[in-house]
Each structure stands twice: as structure tokens, then as C-alpha cells.
Symmetry: C2
Subunit: 440 residues, 2 copies
């Protein structure tokens, strides 16, 4: 039996392994999305609780109880995430080579992100205590919750950036953009709540609100680019048009008054409820996305395992590839490169019987399929580049200007706003000037 | 002991694993480069043998013997490559998860390329017989050898495209471009030999020669961009200036006469010897490159294993990270994001003692280092994009216009030459027009 068949099968086996890894990661992604939602809710309830203290209204203890109840629930979801983390870590430890290293440093980056999340989880009681004792203002509490949520989003980002199957990659990229959009919506709720609880228009917070609205739209646009039609429909129909109009009315009321003008604190609960309903509706889409991912990974893994079995059967049938193509024909075909490929490279060869087909065709088809997959993956991942560029520009500013992450981000954002340019364009400009920045 | 430390270590372990995989691949790369050189030589000797038949000169049996001797030697080198292939395949089979899958589909693509090489090896006796019996003209024999050499170059390309360590990636990219340049030089020798043995200027072959000279220069320029200064010096000093001048003189003599004009067949052996000396000198650089790679991978793996040990020692010293940073300090720092990073993210933390440092700093440093590495890898790999774009454009033309690979390549090349544009620009234009191409 020709040696090349063994390598053809080894290649197939790699594909199966990649899918199995993806199937192992998808429950983690689902749990992560669920925890993000709980944290967003906790951030919202904390805001209400802190705002109630500011306005001295008497719903205070009710807020306090809602928050306490929610924290218990949130903790249970966090435990699920921890279990998934631990499962992946242990499987990597038992055999260091099973680390989900589907991308350059992917395994390393994913575990690093997990370490970051765990530190956030360990720091969460500290944050909750600052909220409970009202030691922190709304904005600081919001920022702290957002920091942990960003850490969780990074886990989803790494998974999206490293999936090696184009369909799964597409779904993960859609999910990431959707979650990112939802998080901007969550921060919008918090920023609006802070403005309303302060009771007067503030130019910085209003600017921030407009920036969050814009970022949201951009993220959802990316989601639409990669989501399946049925997901797009779900995202569309899950939006209540009445609520949508109400949101836009409230946005206008909050964003348009000049700085210093009073804002009606009585709008607080309407704003909070409208935003919260919207976030809950988004959660339904998020759940569908993560469920689709789970099912897709399971189905694809099963199919790939069956395919692999078909290929491996060729090994036990040595005659299959020695009889059909004449021994003279194969070598000449190798040098001729004569056969134009069939299809787009993404379909064959699973739909055709393997038995009796010249090996040279099978190798060529596999090669075309893998090349087409790599090209498709490159295209899908390109949509993640924006975030990478922004992260890199931030890192550069942090190193060269001795800023912390938050300061670096603010500098980029303010530059973008004052020059009326997109954040990513400013990031690119910073990176292209790397060599002229002073080293401190 | 904090859970995040375990994940920090899991991330480190992934890095070590990636380096170990690289160390496993580097002997394969070295053997592959050696075999490519032997095949280039065999192609050259076959050309001499076939040309001698055309010109009826009496060095025929001498050529025949030189060729036969060389084939024996070439086969021994091929066996080494096979052993390396088999070793990697077996280690992947014993444990499917050890497949060198450092990149999207990398494992799959690498094995697919190996399968292709093995088919070429199986077809080699057929090719040699066609040469021995003079059943094929020089150009056809040249093309057949070039096909197998291209398959071997693809193996090096996949390795260069998937290395996850920036230093190794840089070296592999330099090696790939150097090998590609050397292969263009080898094809230049063959094309010049075909022209001289025909005894008259031929516009198509002359154009081809000019194209090969240009491609060579481009490849070597890429090599210089990524090679270390000492490698650049070696590449420079290994070139004999006298021989360089002689080559340019011969190029002029061959390329400038108008089509149909006689070329002096007596220049054949001067041309062949000058080109061959040059290829042999390049071989020295190639060998240094692959040796550097071997040593670097071994050293880096050892260092990383030691580092990992240091980290793992922290696990057995639970006090280290519970005493030093006060328990209150850590959580507040998590939300503060206060510490600006030190250095460029690529140096720390190996140079500092790990003991007693706050975990939060270690996680942050690891994150910055991994991000900086990913950014550097992206930049290095960008130099491989040209080839990918050309391959994809070829694939597209093959699928849409029912061409074989060679025809697709010729179409691209001719378009580039007639429009005086670079091949990669034509490829990009083809890809950007994908949606308007008819589906056959």
C-alpha cells in the first residue's frame, strides 16, 4: 500500500483532532456567555443600588435584596465556567500535547486569559464589598465590573481567533461581535444610569454614551456579516419595535442637553428597565448562538470521525489503490498536473466513494480543500483584526508613555473623537509611528 | 495557592510544547533542504545528459555515469527525508493529539504536503527512465524535477508559516525565501541550458529567463530582510565576485539576441559550471540556516523547559504568593490596571525572580509578552502572503476556467509580463474579481 495514503490519513486525523478540540471548547464558550450576562446584570443592579443611595430614595433595601439574590445566582454560573476551565486545563496537563494549541500561541493565550479571569473572580468579593458599603461611586463600580467582563470576552475572542473550521470560525466570530455589541449596550445602560442619577448633563459622559451607541452599531453590523440568515432573523424579531423607539427617545433626552443642564432623575427606572429588557432579549440570541455552536461542533466531529473511518478502511484494503489506476498512469499524472479541480475545493471528496480512486486525485483534492479552508479562515478572521490593532496600539502607548491600560484607551478614544476618526484608524496611525515614539 | 497560578503555568506549558514540536520539525527541514539540493543537481545533470544527446557530442557516456552516480547519492538523502516524515507521522498516530497542529490546519496541511512529496518520490523512477531513454525533451524533464522540488519547498513553507516562536519563524522565513531564490537560480540554469543546447535565441525562453532572474532577486531580498547579520554576511562572502561578473556576462549573451539568432552551443558547459558553482555556494548558506534552526530550537526548548520548572516550583511553595502581596492589594490592583508595563513585552519576566512577585503582575506580563509575540509573528508571516495570494489566484483560475495548475500559472505570469505588473498584483486582481468570473 502506498506510503502517501498513510500521510493522507494523518492529515485527515489532524482535521478530526482540531474539531474535537473545538467541541471541547464550545461548552466553555456557552458558560462564559452565560456568566457575562449575569455580570452585566449584577453591574446594572449595583448601579441601581448605588444610585438609590445618591438620590436617598426608599427603594434602597429592595435594591439591596435584589442584588444579594442575584449575586448568589451569578456565583452558580461562575462555578460552571470554572469547571470548564479546569477540565480543559487538566486535559492539557495530563498530556501536555493535548493543549488546545490550534493557533500560534493559542493554547498559551487562552490559558493566560483564563488566569486573568480567575484573578477577577478572586477579586470579585472585594468589588462587591465596595459596592455594598458604597465605598465606590457608580462609575468606579461600573468600570470594575466591565474589567472582568472584558476578561471573559477575551476568552471568546481567543476561541474565535483560533478555530480551524471555517463554519465554526464564522459562528464564533458572529458570537464574539454580538457579545461585544451587547457589552457596549450594557455599558450604555450604566453610563446613562450614572448621568440620570447625577441629575445633570455632563459632556464627557454624554460623549461616552454616543461613542458606546456607535460602537454597538458597528459590532452588530459585524455580527450580521457573519451570522446565518436564521440567526439574523432571530436577532431582528427578538427586538421589540416599541421598546426600540422608547430607547431612542431616552437616548435623545439624555444626550442632547448642554452640559450642566438638569436631567430628570425620575427617568432612571424607565431607562434602566428599557435597557435591561433589551439586554435580556439579546441574551436569547446569544444562547441560540452558543447552542448552535455546541451542536455544530458535535455534528462536525461525528461526521469527520466517520470520514476518517472510511479513509482508514482503505488501509485494510490494499488492493483498492493498486489495481484501479494503472501503475504507469499515476507517476505520469504526478508530473502532468493535468486534472483541473472540480468544485470550489470545499465540497469534495467526502461526497464521492473513496474506493478505487487514484490516490493522486485524493491528495490533490485534499490539498485544494485545505487551501480553500485556510483562505476562508483568513477572510473571516480579518474581522477580528480591528480589535488586535487597537490592543497593540494600547500596548505601545503603555510601554512608551508609561500609561496604564485605561489611560492608553482613553488617549486613543479622545484622539479619535477630537479628529472625528475611527478608533481603529487612530490605532493604525499609532502603530505606524512606533519608531518615532520616545522610549521612556 | 491561587488557581490562576495553575493557568499561568498551563499557558507556559503550551509555549514549551510548541517549541518541542518545532524542535521535532527542524531535522525534517534540514533533510528536506539537502534533498532539494540533490534534486536540483540531478535536474542539472539530466539536462547535460539530454543536451549531449542533442548535440551528439561524445561526452555522452561520461554524463550518463555522472548522472547514475548522483542518483545513488540522491536516493540516500531522500531516505533521510522519508525517515523524518515517518517519525513525525508515527508520533502523531500514537497519540493523535501530538500532531504538529500549530496553525489552522497546519498539521493537516503539512501531512498533505508530505503525501504529495511521497507520490513524487514514487514517480521519480518513471521520470528517471524517461530521461535515461531520452523519451522526454529537456524542458519536460526540467519541469518534472521542478514539480517535485516545488512539493518539497511547500513542506518548508508550511513549517515557516506555522512556527509560533518569532525567532524561529524569522529563521524559517529567511530559509524559505533563500531556498525559493536558489530554486529560481536552479531553473535559470536549466532554462539557459535549454536555450544554449537548442543553439538559437527563443523569445519565450528568454522571457522566462528574465522572469527567473527577477524572481530570484526578489526572493533573496526577502531573505535579507529576515536573515541575521551574520547570515547576510555569509550569503555575501560566499559569492565569488569574478563568478558573479561571469554570470552576468553569460546572461547578457543569452538574453539579448533577437529570436531566431544563433547562440553559441560551446558556451553550454561554461554556463552550466558557472551556475552550478553558484548553487553549490548557496548550499553552504542553506546548510548554515538549517543548522542555526536546529541549534536555536534545541536551545530555546531547553531554556523554556527550565523556565517552566521555575514556574512549577512556585506551585510547591504555596507561601510565595500568599505572603508578599497583601491580600487586599491584589484585588484592588486587578480593577485598577495601574501598573504600566516594563520594556517591550518581549523580555520580562524570565529575567526576574518569580518568587514573591504578585501573581497579577506575572499574568499581565505573560499577556503582554504573548500579545507582542503574536504581533511580531503576524509581521513576519506577512512576507509569506505573496505566495499564498498567488496560490489562491491559481486555484481560482483552475476552478473557474478549467485549467491545470501549470496553465493557470502561465496565464498569471503572461498577464503580469504583458501588463508590466508584479505577479502578486495580478493575483490580487484575480482574487478581487472572483465574483465576476464565470463558473464552468
Amino acid at each position: 500500500m502506498p506510503a502517501s495514503l498513510r500521510f493522507l490519513i494523518a492529515a485527515k486525523r489532524c482535521e478530526v483532532t482540531e474539531l474535537e478540540k473545538l467541541a471541547q471548547t464550545s461548552p466553555l464558550i456557552r458558560a462564559t456567555a452565560a456568566w457575562v450576562h449575569e455580570l452585566q446584570r449584577e453591574r446594572g443592579l449595583s448601579n441601581l443600588y448605588l444610585a438609590a443611595a445618591v438620590t436617598h430614595n426608599n427603594t434602597n433595601s429592595a435594591h439591596s435584596q435584589r442584588l444579594a439574590e442575584h449575586i448568589t445566582r451569578s456565583q452558580a454560573v461562575a462555578d460552571q465556567v470554572l469547571q470548564c476551565f479546569e477540565q480543559i486545563r487538566l486535559s492539557a496537563q495530563d498530556n501536555p500535547l493535548t493543549a488546545p494549541s490550534a493557533l500560534p500561541g493559542h493554547g498559551a493565550r487562552l490559558f493566560n486569559r483564563m488566569a486573568d479571569v480567575l484573578q477577577g473572580l478572586a477579586a470579585l468579593p472585594y468589588l462587591r464589598q465596595k459596592v455594598a458599603t458604597r465605598a465606590w461611586p457608580i462609575t468606579q463600580a461600573t468600570q470594575a465590573y466591565s474589567r472582568l467582563i472584558a476578561a471573559l470576552l477575551s476568552v471568546v475572542f481567543e476561541a474565535a481567533d483560533s478555530a480551524t473550521d471555517p463554519d465554526a470560525s464564522r459562528l464564533l466570530v458572529a458570537l464574539f461581535h454580538f457579545m461585544q455589541g451587547k457589552e457596549w449596550a450594557g455599558q450604555e445602560r450604566a453610563t446613562g444610569a450614572a448621568l440620570l442619577s447625577a441629575g445633570r448633563a455632563d459632556a464627557v459622559l454624554q460623549q461616552r454614551l454616543l461613542h458606546l451607541i456607535e460602537s454597538q452599531e458597528r459590532s452588530f453590523q459585524m455580527f450580521h456579516e457573519f451570522a446565518s440568515p436564521s440567526l439574523q432573523t432571530l436577532a431582528h424579531t427578538s427586538q421589540d419595535t416599541h421598546q426600540r423607539a422608547e430607547l431612542e427617545r431616552l437616548r435623545r433626552i439624555i444626550c442632547t442637553p448642554p452640559a450642566g443642564q438638569p436631567l430628570s432623575t425620575s427617568l432612571s427606572s424607565t431607562w434602566f428597565d428599557t435597557c435591561s429588557q433589551r439586554l435580556d432579549q439579546m441574551k436569547a440570541v446569544e444562547e441560540r448562538l452558543t447552542l448552535d455552536l455546541l451542536n455544530m461542533c458535535r455534528d462536525k466531529t461525528e461526521t469527520a470521525q466517520h470520514d476518517l473511518q472510511d479513509w482508514e478502511n482503505l488501509l485494510s484494503d490494499p488492493a483498492a489503490h493498486l489495481t484501479t489506476p494503472s501503475p504507469v498512469r499515476e507517476p505520469s499524472r504526478y508530473f502532468e498536473d493535468s486534472a483541473p479541480p472540480t468544485g470550489d475545493g470545499l465540497t469534495a471528496p467526502e461526497h464521492q466513494a473513496l474506493q478505487g480512486r487514484p490516490l493522486i486525485e485524493l491528495v490533490r483534492e485534499q490539498s485544494q480543500r485545505l487551501t480553500a479552508m485556510a483562505a476562508e479562515l483568513d477572510t473571516i478572521r480579518a474581522s477580528l483584526n480591528e480589535r488586535k490593532l487597537i490592543e497593540r496600539a494600547k500596548g505601545l502607548l503603555m510601554a512608551h508613555r508609561q500609561l496604564n491600560e485605561d489611560q492608553a484607551h482613553k488617549l486613543l478614544r479622545q484622539t479619535a473623537m477630537s479628529q472625528n476618526r475611527r478608533l481603529v484608524d487612530v490605532a493604525e496611525a499609532v502603530l505606524s509611528m512606533a519608531h518615532v515614539l520616545p522610549r521612556t
